[in-house]
Symmetry: C2
Subunit: 83 residues, 2 copies
């Protein structure tokens, strides 16, 4: 069965996020001064072929741990949808 | 009131995504051969101060259009949560 994983990889809250800081400043310069606490990470979608949702979950988690997220600096979460 | 916007910026479906292709190949090399159709985009979270959810929606949309997404090559979507 086909599943789609929607994965978010974000810098850990304890760490500085220079890209987010830069975006924050740029938004202020554009007049959007009510914006704060910007953090920038990655969003990854991928399709999986798996026998069950549990297997798909396992595969997506493995992909995150082995390649997509550097767990020293990043956290990840994902959701699975069918199709 | 405080809102958090969870924004996804993804390369348009019609366009090649070389980063996604590279991740796809790397996952195959790591033995995750059931993975396909990888696409890599950005995930941005930001906090907004707005009078209502409609205002927050408007602000987040403006941020996406003015800075976060290049609409020639990328599409965006977002959700808002309180707090």
């Amino acid at each position: 069965m086909k599943y789609t994983a929607h994965i978010n990889v974000m810098p850990l809250k304890e760490l500085l996020d220079p890209q987010g800081k830069a975006v924050n400043n740029s938004l202020h310069n554009l007049g959007l001064t009510s914006v704060n606490n910007v953090r920038v990470g990655k969003h990854i979608t991928l399709q999986l072929e798996a026998a069950s949702k549990e297997d798909a979950d396992k595969l997506a988690r493995e992909a995150c741990k082995k390649l997509l997220a550097n767990q020293v600096m990043e956290s990840f979460d994902f959701t699975l949808t069918e199709g």
